[in-house]
């Protein structure tokens, strides 16, 4: 268990002097991202809610992207995945990503089909 830490984030754009300093840096970054999410969630800019991409509002895509960014920094810097061996990191990260993407795909695709059945079927649901 080597205790050396990789001290740079944003692909080396930002380099910290000590591990403690890096932790605070990451906290600032995560707080900013959460703040952006909350502001967007409350203001809901019209441009972002009126346009869609692959059936979902642009705003929701932004939320998901920001969430993944946050997840990345929590896993890489708080859970120290950045300092682990490549093999461990890949096993931990890609296994769920593969399984979850598959799960999301089949469930949402099926749900969309059921939605059309509800909408176009001959049975009324709203009474």
């Amino acid at each position: 268990m080597a205790h050396e830490h990789k001290l740079e984030i944003f692909r080396g754009l930002l380099k910290f002097k000590s591990n403690t300093q890096k932790i605070w840096g990451v906290l600032v970054f995560l707080t900013i991202v959460t703040g952006v999410e909350v502001v967007l969630g409350i203001t809901k800019p019209y441009v972002l809610t009126s346009n869609t991409f692959v059936g979902m509002k642009i705003l929701n895509w932004i939320f998901i992207a920001l969430t993944l960014v946050k997840a990345y920094y929590i896993a890489w810097d708080f859970m120290h995945l950045r300092d682990e061996k490549n093999s461990l990191r890949r096993a931990v990260v890609w296994t769920p990503i593969f399984l979850v993407s598959y799960l999301i795909f089949i469930l949402l695709y099926e749900a969309d089909y059921i939605y059309t059945v509800f909408r176009d079927g001959f049975v009324t649901w709203d009474f």
Binding site: M1, A2, H3, N19, T20, I23, W24, V26, L27, L30, T31, T34, G35, E37, V38, G41, I42, K44, T49, N60, F63, I64, L66, T67, K70, A71, I74, A75, D77, F78, M79, H80, E84, K85, S87, L88, A91, V92, T95, P96, L99, V100, L103, I104, L107, L108, E110, A111, D112, I114, Y115, F118, R119, T124, W125, D126, F127
Partner: protein
Amino acid sequence: METSVTTASEGRVWGGGNRPLDASYGKLMMWFFIVSDALTFSGFLASYGFSRFKFIETWPIADEVFTHVPFFHGNFPMYYVAFMTFILIMSSVTMVLAVDAGHKMIQKKVILYMFLTIIGGAIFVGSQAWEWATFIKGDYGAIETKGGRILQFVKADTGERAALADFAKTLPGERVDHERRNGIWFYQDKALPSFTVNEVTEGLLANPNILIRTETITEAGEKQLLTREESLTRIKDATEVVEGANLIHNEYGSRLFADFFFFITGFHGFHVFSGVVINIIIFFNIILGTYERRGHYEMVEKVGLYWHFVDLVWVFVFTFFYLV
């Protein structure tokens, strides 16, 4: 530990002591647990997505459901949840600092940071309990129709939501809660809501300022508002008064919404709670000097992994339950 068997001899690969992933047994097992637990949470969130896409046109809008902040009155969508998120991230930070201090073998600092982590976790669990209480209690009340749809009420002039108490009439009549002790078969009826369907209907008829809002989401992303005439016809479908939420009825809209709220945030809250308990155990071990004697603070690192994972899950719950 530091320099175990490296690539010195091919013959000893299977002889033990070789650590291809360069992580201890305990840490690897924690990673195994985290990956499988992540899949459980993904299952919950994906099934939430399933139900939501299924009822995409009638799903409740989270901004309109979670609008409360303790000690303040008014409409504050999401501020409190954002605060909870920040608390959890903050306690994650103190946890990393504890791990960091553990690497440097500074017992005093580990104690301090572990203590702060526990406090953060406790605040979070408390906040979640408060969220649950508010959600279960409800605020405006609604009517449920024969088909299980929820009808909410809006003041026509201001566009604000109207609570049942604002307009429902009080009709003379006797309604008694049927309690278990009165029944021959020790069978208890469900608790009576504050108003009967009749009282709400009469109140709506008498008050021209009240309109009905349905579950349907319009093009503009808002709930559909019926005209006065439509409201008067729609109220005839009413079968039940719903106040607050439980697993069967809720005043916010789709029944599944409350079910998923209880399951997902409940399962997460249970994780946080057990995390706090484990943290406390480790905290006392640190004070007792167990890890000083053991020579390393790896236990703190392992419980830290779990704690960060709980934070990680919350980040996703926050997005998919409150934001999207």
